[in-house]
Symmetry: C2
Subunit: 393 residues, 2 copies
C-alpha cells in the first residue's frame, strides 16, 4: 500500500514536486510558507514514507549547496480514458510523464465488465514491457456523467449497462490500488491544464467534440463539477426548437446537430442525396462514413464536407458564445476526436463568439485547439489520481 | 484607521465572528484548526487591535466556563446599492445587521459626481440618526460591469459618464475608509448567500431582473467574476435571431425581450394597440407605464399583463435552462425589482428549465424568489467590504 501524506503541508510539497519536477529544498522553501526548520521536518518525514527521495546536491546559489529531492521514481500510475468507440490506457511516472500508451477500439455499449477486461489486458501488456511492476493509483475517464465522490456512472445516455456500476470500487479491487473516476471531458480539461495549451490559465472552458459533445469547466485551477456532477453537460442545450430529434427526447439539441455522430449522419445523407466527390468515393470504398472521413474529405477540398464543418462550427459557436457571456473564461480550448476538423471549425466558432459575446469577455479571449491530442485524457487521469494519493488520507 | 488582521488565522476568526455572532473561545476552537494555546494567542492579539472585544463568560459546557468574544460593537459599515433609477444606502454593524436604511430615486445617467453627492447626503442623514459616527469601510454596487481589483466601471451600457470613473478611489477619499466596488448582481448574490434564501447553498446562480438583466455566479461560497470581471453578463445572450434590436448593436438580446424596460415598452405598445383594462387605466392616470405597473395590473387580473409576464418568464427560462445544463447549480435565485411579478414569472421559468435541462441537473434544483428584497444588495455590499477589512492588509 502506497503511503499517504500526513498533513496539508506534505500534500502541497508532493504536488509541487509533481508539477515542477526535482527541486532543491531551497527552491521549495521559496514556494511554501514554512519556516526552514518546519520545511526540513516535513521533507524528512516524506522521505521516511518513501514517497520522496534525495536526489543529490543542487547547483549552487551562493553559500552552502542545497539538497535536491524528488518524488520516488518507482511510483507508477495507470491512466484510462474510455471513449464511445476506443479506449486509451497509459502508464505515467509521478511527474505525469507518459511512459507507455496503448489505444484499442472498443464498443462502450458492451458494458463495464467487457470493457474493463480489455483495460486490464492492456494494463498487463504495458506492465509486460517492464515500465511498471504494480500501480500506486489509477485514474479513469468515462464518456458520461459520474457521481464523483463514489465514482459511479449516473444514467449515461450512450453507455447502456453502465448505470450505477461501481467502477471505482470494482477496479480498485482488481488493481489493488486507489482509483478515481471522472467524466472524460473533465479529464481532458485537467490534462490540458497540467501539460497542454491551458498551462497558465486558471479559469477556462474545454469543449470536447467526440461522438457527443461536452464541456469541462475549470475554476481557479480546479474542475468545477456542479451540485450533482453534471456541470458542463452542454450536448443537450437547444440550438433549434424545430431541429433534429435527439435520443434524449427533446428536439434540436446541440449534439443532435453537431457532434461526431451528427456529422457522419449528415455526410451520409448528402451522399445519398446525390453529392459526388471525395465523400462519395470514401463511402463506396468502405461502406460507411465517420467524422474522421468528413475531416479527411474537407482536407482534400470536398465542398460538402467543408460546408458541414463550417455549419457545425457556427452551431457550436452560438452555444459557446452564450457560455462566454455567462462565464467570461480566460480561454476556450476545443478538442476531441473531431479536432481533425481543425481550423475551419475554429474559424466558424470564433466568428460566432466574437460577434455575439460582449467585448469585455472577448477582448483577450483565445479560442484554440487542444494540444495534447489523445494524451490529454490520460494525463488528466494521472492528475486526478495523484491529486488523490498526494492528499492526506 | 481601522486595524487589519495580521494573518490568515486572525482573518478566519473575524469572519466566523461576523457570520456566527458572539462566540466562546471553545466554540471557535471547534471551528478552526488551531491548538488551544495558538488560538489564545491569536484572540488576544485581535483584542489588542480593538477589532474584537471580550463579552463576558459563556454558558457552562461542564468544567471551567469559557470566555465569550465578539467583534467590536463600535464597527460600522456603509453599504451602497446603486440602481438605474434609485439608490439604497444602509449602515450595518460588524455582524452585518442593517441598523438604518434609506432609499431615494436617482437617475444613474446624471453621472457619478451627482449620484455620489446623493449617496454622501444619505450617509450623512444616517449618521445624524446617531447609528454611526464614522465608517470602517464601505461596499458599493453599481448596475454595470466593474474592473474588480481597481473598483472602476468598464463601459457600463446604461451608465453614460461612468466609464473609467475611479469610484473606489474617489469614494475612499470622501469617506476616509477602505471602499470596495462590485456589480450590483454579484452583491445581491452575496447578500442572499449571507442572510437570505441561499444561506446553505455554496454553488448557485442569482438572476436579477431589474431595468436590465444579469446573473450572479457563486462557486464554493465565493462570487465568480470571470477572467475580466464580466461573468454573469447574460442580458445580451441571444434569444431570437430575428428579435428586437438592442442598444448593444445586436438583435434579439435577452434584455431587449424581457427586463423592466422591455416590459414597460411592451405594455405601452399593447395599450396603444387598443387593449383596454387595468393597464390602460394606469396609463390614463399617470401618463406612463413601468414594470411595477405591469406587476400591479397582473395582480389585478389584467390579461395582457399576465401574458406579458408569462411570455417573459418563458424567455428568461430558456436562457436559464442553458445555464443550468452548463453550470449544474444547487439553486437558482430570482430577484430584482421585477420580483413583484412573482409566482407567474417563476412558474414559466420552471416549466422551461425542468423541460429542457437534464434530469441530473434539475432533480434537486430549487428555483426560488430572493428573500431579502432591497436589503440583498446592501447586505452583499457589507459582505464585500468586511471580506476586505477582515483580510490581512
Amino acid at each position: 500500500m502506497t503511503a499517504r501524506p500526513a498533513n496539508a503541508h506534505q500534500a502541497r510539497l508532493l504536488r509541487l514536486l509533481r508539477d515542477g519536477g526535482p527541486s532543491s529544498r531551497v527552491e521549495l522553501g521559496d514556494l511554501v510558507e514554512l519556516s526552514r526548520s518546519k520545511l526540513a521536518v516535513e521533507v524528512d518525514r516524506l522521505i521516511a514514507t518513501g514517497l520522496v527521495v534525495a536526489d543529490g546536491l543542487a547547483a549552487s546559489r551562493g553559500g552552502r549547496r542545497s539538497h535536491n529531492i524528488r518524488l520516488s521514481p518507482e511510483l507508477r500510475f495507470l491512466c484510462v480514458d474510455i471513449g464511445a468507440t476506443s479506449v486509451d490506457v497509459a502508464v505515467t511516472n509521478p511527474e505525469l510523464d507518459v511512459l507507455g500508451h496503448l489505444n484499442q477500439p472498443i464498443d462502450v455499449r458492451e458494458g463495464p465488465v467487457a470493457v474493463f477486461e480489455h483495460v486490464l489486458g492492456m494494463a498487463g501488456k504495458l506492465k509486460a514491457t517492464g515500465i511498471a511492476e504494480s500501480f500506486d493509483g489509477a485514474g479513469v475517464g468515462i464518456p458520461g456523467p459520474v457521481r464523483f465522490p463514489e465514482g459511479i456512472p449516473v444514467a449515461p445516455p450512450i453507455m447502456p449497462g453502465w448505470d450505477s456500476f461501481p467502477v471505482r470500487e470494482a477496479l480498485s479491487q482488481d488493481l489493488g490500488c486507489p482509483v478515481m473516476v471522472d467524466n472524460d471531458v473533465n479529464l481532458m480539461a485537467l490534462g490540458e491544464h497540467h501539460a497542454g495549451v491551458a498551462r497558465r490559465v486558471d479559469d477556462f472552458l474545454c469543449v470536447k467534440i467526440g461522438t457527443g459533445i461536452g464541456c469541462g469547466i475549470v475554476v481557479n485551477g480546479e474542475v468545477y463539477r456542479g451540485a450533482s456532477g453534471s456541470a458542463g453537460d452542454i450536448g443537450h442545450i437547444q440550438v433549434d426548437p424545430d431541429g433534429h430529434p435527439c435520443p434524449c427526447g427533446n428536439r434540436g439539441c446541440l449534439e443532435a446537430h453537431f457532434s461526431g455522430a451528427a456529422l457522419a449522419r449528415d455526410a451520409l445523407a448528402a451522399v445519398r442525396a446525390g453529392h459526388t466527390g471525395d465523400l462519395a468515393d470514401r463511402l463506396a470504398g468502405t461502406g460507411t462514413l465517420t467524422a474522421t472521413d468528413v475531416a479527411a474529405a474537407a482536407t482534400a477540398g470536398d465542398a460538402v464536407a467543408i460546408d458541414l464543418i463550417r455549419a457545425g462550427g457556427h452551431q457550436v459557436g452560438q452555444v459557446v458564445a452564450k457560455l462566454v457571456s455567462f462565464f467570461n473564461p480566460g480561454m476556450v480550448v476545443v478538442g476531441g476526436g473531431v479536432t481533425g476538423l481543425g481550423h475551419g471549425l475554429l474559424a466558424a466558432m470564433r466568428t460566432e463568439v466574437y460577434r455575439r459575446s460582449p467585448p469585455l469577455a472577448t477582448g483577450n479571449l483565445p479560442i484554440v485547439l487542444a494540444e495534447l491530442g489523445p494524451l490529454a485524457g490520460v494525463t488528466g487521469a494521472a492528475c486526478l489520481i495523484t491529486d488523490r494519493v498526494f492528499s492526506p488520507a
